[in-house]
């Protein structure tokens, strides 16, 4: 297949057509912030952290869902993009009750890392402090909605990789919640296979195994893609 030339952050690159901007950036070690992206499941462009500027396009487009085209000139680190990444991060932190000090994911949390990366020293918006449930009904796992950022990685993994479709989304706007089956307790779900993939897909401390305490959560989001690659090889 013929390679196509593109320019990312003034760096001339050659790449295969059909790839997304995010894929090309990752291959060439150009840092792009993501949150809802998880290698191995479909991209939805929801977190808006990976937005990039493309010459000749007046809208900012999400790198994870936009495919590269020949002679595209892409900018990933302009002042505007950096400013918007910081606002998005602050809004994510202000939305629910993210208290790192008592969280199982402390030190291993993608949201926490994002905060460090964008240099968020404080949050300029008032915390919304919603009343969120903690679902401990499952025998092994806990779902803490206080720490959920609605990236829907668990929903996609459960549907696309495990094929169980235990998780889905209910309500609209800031009232959206991840639900198990038709909004039943996780422990009573008839579709959940207790496979634990959502645990590894979750970027924060929202889904965790019961046996651990603060700061001890080990997540391996990479296993989702490994699994998918192995399946492809088998086919």
């Amino acid at each position: 297949m013929n390679k196509i030339p593109i320019i990312i952050d003034e760096k001339k690159l050659e790449t295969d057509p059909g790839k997304t901007i995010l894929e090309v950036c990752r291959e060439n070690e150009i840092d792009i912030l993501t949150m809802c992206h998880l290698k191995g499941v479909l991209d939805i462009g929801a977190c808006r952290l990976c937005l990039v500027e493309i010459e000749g396009v007046n809208k900012l487009l999400s790198a994870c869902t936009t495919k590269v085209a020949a002679n595209m000139v892409i900018k990933t680190n302009t002042e505007r993009i950096k400013k918007y990444q910081r606002i998005t991060t602050e809004l994510l932190f202000a939305e629910r009750n993210h208290v790192c000090a008592v969280c199982v994911a402390n030190g291993k949390c993608e949201l926490q890392n994002l905060g460090y990366k964008v240099g968020m020293d404080h949050i300029r918006y008032p915390h919304l402090f919603p009343q969120c449930e903690v679902d401990t009904s499952h025998a092994w796992y806990v779902m803490d909605h206080n720490r959920c950022i609605m990236c829907t990685r668990c929903v996609r993994v459960c549907n696309e990789v495990e094929g169980a479709h235990n998780w889905d989304v209910m309500n609209r706007g800031h009232q959206v919640r991840i639900i198990s089956d038709f909004n039943t307790a996780w422990g009573e779900s008839v579709t959940c296979t207790s496979c634990g993939k959502c645990l590894h897909a979750c970027p924060t401390g929202a889904i965790w195994p019961k046996a651990i305490v603060q700061g001890q959560l080990e997540k391996k989001p990479g296993i989702i893609n490994e699994l998918m690659e192995k399946r492809k090889m088998k086919l």
Binding site: L49, K59, L91, L92, Y125, P126, G173
Partner: protein
């Protein structure tokens, strides 16, 4: 049924009309607005009255779609005199029938009348409300019985489909639509002909036609009135589109809050199928086209095309990033044409009269006519259709009969929660796509809310932000959290508790949400706020608490 059979039916209906035994025709508006003010009872009572007087062979009473001045309903129109009675009550029907049909003299006190005028017009066609309008999409609304396909057939119905199928190639149909320069009436104003051409170019694929009837802007009811008043026109437009792009299946997505529109549209599909104007081998040709109704479940965001498609597929109604656009990958991943109700309603006159005729109406960049739903502090609240480029002043003062109680005009809100406010100094703005955008508003689907000086513009912005906050699908961060934050800040300003820092943050957030949101809902949610900030900044600043509170920034 083939083409000849159809012509026979139309001929029979027309001769029936000519040798009509009826001397008078009374149209009673049975649009949702008039029904809710009691027009069905009025019609029943009227028929009883006609029957008791033994006039049933002289007078025909028919239910029609929307006539226009909805807030004056129930409306009753006497033809051929063209006397329109407003706010008809069961109690004054006897008097109206007596004087109109027996004494041959209308009762002036009960005729259609805006408070700002000196006296009512005996012949309603002379009222500027009707005189200044140009009805193309709404042509038959208020004249024909929407529940009878024969009524539509007599008024040139399905002639455009016939013409397209027998005299034109799909390329010619698209060329005609392109020449008309009609732009999408759903709000964004994308050239319809170009969209059709894009979908047409995909060969050997299953394609779909979708009609977007998920009208959700507060104060807007154009699509509802078209679907209720003349469903066949929309159906015909969809069939022509199907023929042009090469699709054999159409979906009409109508919001669930429009039960009457759904009922009438479903009835129209049934009637058209029976007549062979829909279904397999339409009018004996090789073209087959079927339409199904899908009912919206009350989400505003499903008016966004990709969310609407997801909803038809049975998924959660959330938008997805574009590209790819639906024209390339739409319903079930197939090329899909999606247009608004009003756009389809304008197709058959374009085919009948030619694209050139349509392109000469309106302004060079925005051709044709636009339906507006007037609401708020205006004398005639209701449905109007005017050529593009008509000024706001003409719409409000000539057609709308001015502001209620003779109050002073303050602002007009166009485009609903995605639009903005136009202040009094821009009353002479021409209503077309570009002019409205230059004022920080948008044409939108055509909602036009008129406000007098009692309206508080900060509260208006807060109201629309609350709407967007509740209707955000919750998928992307800027819209889900950003609208909530902006709403809270606006509420703080309304409560006189905000500081200058809050206002600065509000402005920063507005631009952020506008530029980073995934779909048009979030992308336009800050518009009411930004436009009121632009034209009525003083009202915001008056409420800012003036103290030296410095926050960490």
């Amino acid at each position: 049924m083939n083409r000849q059979d159809l012509k026979t039916i139309i001929y029979a209906e027309k001769t029936k009309d000519e040798t009509n035994k009826y001397k008078h025709k009374i149209c009673v508006c049975c649009g949702a607005g008039c029904i809710s003010s009691g027009s069905e009872e009025v019609m029943k009572k009227l028929q009883e009255e006609i029957n008791t007087r033994g006039l049933e062979n002289e007078v025909e009473v028919i239910p029609t779609g929307c006539m226009g001045p909805c807030n004056q309903g129930p409306l009753m129109k006497f033809l051929p005199e063209y006397n329109i009675y407003q706010k008809v009550d069961c109690s004054n029907i006897t008097a109206i029938v007596q004087s109109q049909l027996i004494d041959k003299k209308p009762i002036e006190d009960l005729l259609l009348f805006a408070d700002s005028r000196e006296k009512p017009f005996i012949n309603a066609q002379e009222d500027p409300f009707f005189k200044k309008q140009l009805k193309i999409a709404l042509k038959n609304c208020g004249h024909i019985n929407p529940e009878r396909i024969e009524d539509y057939l007599v008024h040139n119905g399905y002639q455009a489909l016939d013409k397209a199928l027998f005299e034109m190639s799909p390329e010619e149909v698209i060329a005609e639509v392109k020449q008309s320069r009609i732009r999408g009436r759903g709000g964004a104003g994308y050239p319809t002909g170009l969209k059709w051409e894009t979908v047409y170019k995909y060969v050997n694929e299953q394609k779909y036609v979708i009609c977007n009837g998920d009208e959700g802007d507060p104060g807007a009811f154009m699509d509802r009135s078209v679907l209720e008043g003349n469903p066949h026109r929309v159906l015909e437009g969809m069939a022509i589109a199907g023929y042009a792009i090469g699709a054999n299946k159409g979906y009409a997505y109508i919001r669930g809050e429009y039960p009457l529109a759904i009922k009438r549209f479903e009835l129209a599909i049934k009637q058209a199928k029976k007549m062979g104007l829909l279904g397999n081998n339409i009018l004996g040709t090789a073209f087959s086209f079927d339409v199904e109704v899908r009912i919206g479940a009350g989400a505003f965001v499903c008016g966004e095309e990709t969310a609407l498609i997801a909803s038809i597929e049975g998924k959660r109604g959330t938008p997805r990033p574009r590209p790819p656009f639906p024209a390339e990958s739409g319903l079930w991943g197939k090329p899909t044409l999606i247009n608004n109700v009003e756009t389809y309603a304008a197709i058959s006159p374009i085919i009948n009269n030619g694209g050139e005729w349509y392109s000469e109406i309106g302004t060079p960049k925005s051709s044709g006519t636009k339906v507006f739903a007037l609401a708020g502090k205006i004398n005639y609240a209701g449905l109007i259709e005017v050529p593009m480029g008509t000024t706001l002043r003409e719409i409000i003062y000539d057609i709308g009969g001015g502001i209620q109680g003779g109050e002073e005009f303050k602002a007009a809100q166009t485009g609903g929660p995605s639009g903005g406010c136009i202040p009094a100094e821009h009353l002479d703005v021409k209503m077309d796509y570009e002019s409205l955008v230059s004022l920080g508003s948008i044409m939108g689907s055509g909602g036009l809310i008129v406000m007098d000086k009692s309206s508080d513009m900060v509260d208006v912005a807060r109201f629309f932000m609350e709407f967007c906050m509740d209707e955000s699908c919750g998928k992307c961060v800027p819209c889900r959290v950003g609208t909530r934050m902006m709403h809270d800040l606006l509420q703080k300003i309304c409560d006189n508790k905000a500081t200058q820092i809050d206002l600065d943050r509000l402005e920063e957030l507005a631009v952020y949400v506008k530029e980073t949101s995934l779909c048009g809902l979030g992308g336009s949610a800050p518009n009411p706020l930004l436009s009121t900030l632009r034209h009525f900044r003083q009202e915001y600043e008056e409420r800012i608490v003036n103290h030296e509170l410095r926050e960490l920034h």
